[in-house]
């Protein structure tokens, strides 16, 4: 209908029509998964969406694209892949907050923003059993916590499996160095989780003095804050679900579990459905092999979606990952996931799981104006994000 590309290139660098108003036109506007508005115009004021109208024309628009979706949400943003973001003086540091350890000037934020990710969940590096509280943040804007934080202490974050104990060894006869500590095995990791919850519970009910992190653990036990547990393999997924079920059986609460990096979730569809846990998948690999020896089949996303398991995709975007979230959605489609479910898995579902769907994840009136502009139908490798709007501002204008 129109030469969108040339218009887009022009408009991206053109000054916006007025200071705090932005009008974006696209032939296809996906306001939410399954909800396509053709020839849509999104009008933005003061960083919020004030209207989305169909059957409009591109004249008068500040930005024009083939397709517009909500800004993508990566709920497993690997903010850091080193030990600088996890407090290792204890295996359980539930009260540590990632929001207090962030470098907002690091390049990884903007890289994520450029690939269309506008909101991320960041959390401590998985070297502790329970690393602490994760936060939901925007990937652009002024480099201050006030400007970027969407929700602090949004979830308790920890890990099962071999990774939290990797490098640890028994102290033996001589007290060696720092790594001569527990846990040293998978079962030790689970023991640390269980002990943390029991201790918090007993302190509360026995009237003992509270140790740091008790409030966070109790909130997680009660299901007030979700618990994100990294569990790549079948056995770690099972361990996580069984732990939550054990706590429920003991009458200690009903946890809301999100299995993060659940590569082998395809083996445990029945268990996951029963438990009500959600799954965030790690990036797909060409040969199925992933971390911790876990095998991730290409149809895992489709299988989970079909079984009704809440599903989010992740590129593990951030520092050092070459993957993009849009590509992950494309690979999930290759495995049989529908377009709408793929869109949901990178926008509305993670926004809901993170408890920020009143701010981001869809394009509706009153929500943050976070948009991705695409040069074709998204989630194909022949298509890519060609523009991003964050809080109503075109990211090309931001530093």
């Amino acid at each position: 209908m129109i030469s969108t590309l040339s218009l887009l290139t022009l408009s991206l660098f053109a000054p916006l029509s007025s200071g705090d108003r932005l009008v974006v036109f696209a032939e296809n506007v996906y306001t939410a998964p399954g909800n396509l508005v053709e020839d849509g115009t999104v009008t933005i004021e003061d960083g919020k969406i004030i209207s989305v109208k169909g059957g409009t024309s591109p004249s008068g628009a500040d930005m024009v694209a083939h397709t517009v979706t909500a800004g993508l949400v990566d709920m497993s943003f690997r903010y850091s892949t080193n030990q600088n973001t996890v407090e290792q003086s204890d295996e359980i540091t539930a009260n540590a907050r990632i929001s207090e350890m962030l470098d907002l000037h690091a390049r990884g934020w903007e890289r994520a923003l450029k690939q269309g990710i506008t909101t991320v969940a960041a959390f401590p590096y998985d070297r502790n059993v329970v690393g602490g509280m994760g936060a939901v943040l925007k990937t652009g804007g002024e480099e201050t916590l006030e400007a970027r934080l969407v929700k602090d202490a949004a979830f308790l974050r920890g890990a099962m499996g071999s990774l939290p104990s990797s490098g640890n060894r028994p102290s033996g006869a001589r007290p060696g160095n720092f790594y001569a500590r527990r846990p040293t095995t998978r079962m030790g990791v689970e023991w640390a989780w269980r002990k943390a919850f029991y201790d918090a519970w007993q302190e509360e009910h026995g009237g003992e003095a509270a140790r740091p992190g008790r409030a966070e653990l109790l909130a997680a036990l009660a299901g007030k804050t979700p618990v994100f547990v990294q569990a790549w393999t079948t056995q770690d997924i099972r361990t996580t679900v069984f732990l939550a079920e054990e706590m429920a059986a003991e009458g200690m609460g009903s946890m809301r579990i999100v299995i993060d990096a659940g590569a082998e979730a395809w083996r445990e569809i029945g268990l996951l459905t029963r438990s009500g846990a959600a799954v965030c998948l790690p990036p797909f690999s060409s040969d199925g092999r992933t971390t911790d020896g876990a095998f991730m089949s290409w149809d895992v996303a489709a299988k989970l979606n079909e079984a009704g398991v809440p599903l989010a995709l992740s590129a593990h975007a951030g520092f050092g990952s070459g993957n993009t979230l849009a590509e992950q959605a494309a690979y999930a489609r290759r495995g049989g996931l529908s377009f709408d479910a793929a869109l949901a898995a990178v926008t509305s579902v993670p926004a809901t799981l993170l408890g920020v769907s009143d701010r981001v994840g869809t394009l509706s009136k009153g929500l943050d104006a976070d948009l991705v502009l695409w040069n074709g139908k998204p989630f194909e490798l022949t298509t890519r994000p060609v523009g991003v709007v964050l809080n109503g501002a075109s990211s090309t204008e931001q530093k």
Binding site: S286, S297, R334, E380, L381
Partner: protein
């Protein structure tokens, strides 16, 4: 598809042994044929006899006794071409710095899973070369992923030599560059010494050649003039070619421009060394740069000399503008395309391991579909010197056909069948590994774990004496 899928798979089972026969004739009736050189043919036929395409089009006569493949629901493409890889080799690198006397054919493992992966992604021609950890590597070998021995797989033997301008582990860039230059200095010295010895009536080289078990043929028994365009050796006519040492002989072919040189460049600064060595030894016209990292910064240099490139490593690169501190992402193929440098893509340069997906990413960045296809078919075929046989579909070419359902550039596009030289060598319906990859099913010939089995049954209670 007209016939049922059951019938079709039967057909393929039948076709496989038949095609081994010398009189193998095959007709592929495809819903669409994308030849890449001519028009797209709707509802056309490809006739393959003795491994070569003998007819292609809508109204073509098929031999009465030919096998038929009904692919009316599929689209036929020429098999894609992997411009360079070290996949399928036992070990990709050799310890010796200068090893042109070696041949990768001795390292190619025909049952290596790499070749199956290539088939699955529609690649039918593969340029296998030694890895980059060398000064001058072994001679390469172009193969097709078909056959149980290297001989059966061979498309083109002794297909070029790898050189590396990027330092081998433990070397600095200066030593690497000197080692490269020094190899050709040594070659020149060696040849001059041979001439001097021959003039003095010394037959040491001949005795050495006989001692090593080499035998002359009609051609190599003769001496002939040196054909290097950059430097000369007077009196080369005195030297029967078979007497030249096994280490130096491939280098003579190189400097005489008889075989391609694949020069690895891991950084822009390596490009200068690569071009200098190729230019000063007369094989620049046969040079292909195998580039990664920030080599695209040297694009003007490359364009000026008309050297083609093979893109390995990441297709994108970040660069920080020192003035604004802005990070910019550069899509590397576009840089070469804009400078009119001929380039081929390579499959292992992202997490996808798929040539078609690499090409798809080029389309996302504004390249035409035709140009993107070219970078995984015709251009690599030209670069490795087999464009008369593979890379497009026309009469006389090898009968290498990939039958796709859907668009190869789409995540929904799937390779259903691969035909190499008229023989059906891949059928997705019988590919157990693809089911493993896609659905997690254990591949054939492996022992699946029974999830319902009680481990106690087999393990006992752990106490001695259970075995009875």
């Amino acid at each position: 598809m007209k016939t049922s899928s059951a019938l079709l798979s039967l057909l393929f089972v039948a076709a496989a042994p038949l095609a081994n026969a010398a009189d193998g004739k095959l007709v592929i009736e495809a819903g669409k044929i994308v030849t890449l050189t001519g028009e797209v043919i709707e509802n056309g036929k490809i006739v393959i006899e003795d491994g070569r395409i003998t007819a292609i089009g809508v109204d073509v006569d098929a031999p009465w006794d030919a096998e038929h493949i009904d692919a009316s629901g599929l689209v036929a493409y020429p098999g894609f071409v992997e411009a360079i890889t070290s996949g399928g080799m036992d070990r990709p690198n050799e310890n010796i710095d200068v090893a042109p006397f070696l041949d990768v054919r001795d390292s190619i493992d025909p049952v290596n899973v790499t070749f199956e992966n290539f088939l699955r992604s529609g690649v039918t021609t593969i340029n296998v070369q030694q890895g980059a950890a060398c000064v001058i590597g072994a001679r390469g070998h172009v193969v097709k992923p078909k056959g149980r021995t290297v001989e059966e797989m061979t498309v083109k033997p002794r297909a070029g030599i790898v050189l590396s301008a990027t330092p081998k582990r433990g070397k600095s860039r200066a030593t690497q560059a000197q080692a490269l230059r020094g190899t050709f200095d040594e070659l020149e010295r060696y040849l001059n010494e041979m001439v001097t010895a021959a003039r003095a009536g010394d037959d040491y080289a001949k005795r050495e050649a006989m001692y090593q078990g080499r035998e002359p043929d009609e051609e190599s028994a003769k001496g002939r003039d040196f054909e290097c365009s950059a430097w000369s050796v007077d009196g080369m006519k005195l030297i029967p070619r078979w007497e030249i040492d096994e280490k130096q002989a491939p280098l003579v072919s190189l400097v005489e421009g008889k075989i391609p040189a694949y020069i690895y460049c891991g950084a822009a600064m390596d490009v200068r060394v690569a071009i200098e060595v190729a230019e000063s030894n007369g094989f620049l016209h046969k040079t292909v740069l195998v580039v990664s990292g920030d080599c695209d910064r040297a694009v003007e240099w490359i364009a000026e000399r008309g050297v083609p490139v093979i893109l390995t490593g990441s297709l994108t690169r970040s660069e920080i503008d020192e003035e604004t501190d802005e990070e910019e992402e550069i899509f590397i193929p576009k840089v070469y395309a804009d400078a009119d440098v001929r380039f081929a893509l390579q499959s292992s340069n992202s997490t996808t391991q798929s040539l078609a997906y690499q090409a798809a990413r080029c389309v996302a960045h504004g390249m035409s579909r035709e140009d993107a296809f070219r970078a995984i078919s015709i251009t690599p075929a030209e670069i490795i010197g087999v464009a008369k046989r593979v890379g497009s579909l026309s009469v006389g070419m090898d009968g290498n056909v990939v039958l796709y359902s859907g668009d190869p550039f789409s995540v929904e596009g799937v390779v259903q069948h691969v035909i190499i030289e008229g023989e059906a060598v891949y059928d997705r319906a019988t590919d157990s590994r693809v089911r493993h990859l896609e659905q997690g099913e254990a591949p054939d010939n492996t022992q699946p774990m029974d999830p319902e089995a009680d481990p106690e049954d087999e393990a006992g209670d752990g106490e001695d004496g259970d075995e009875g």
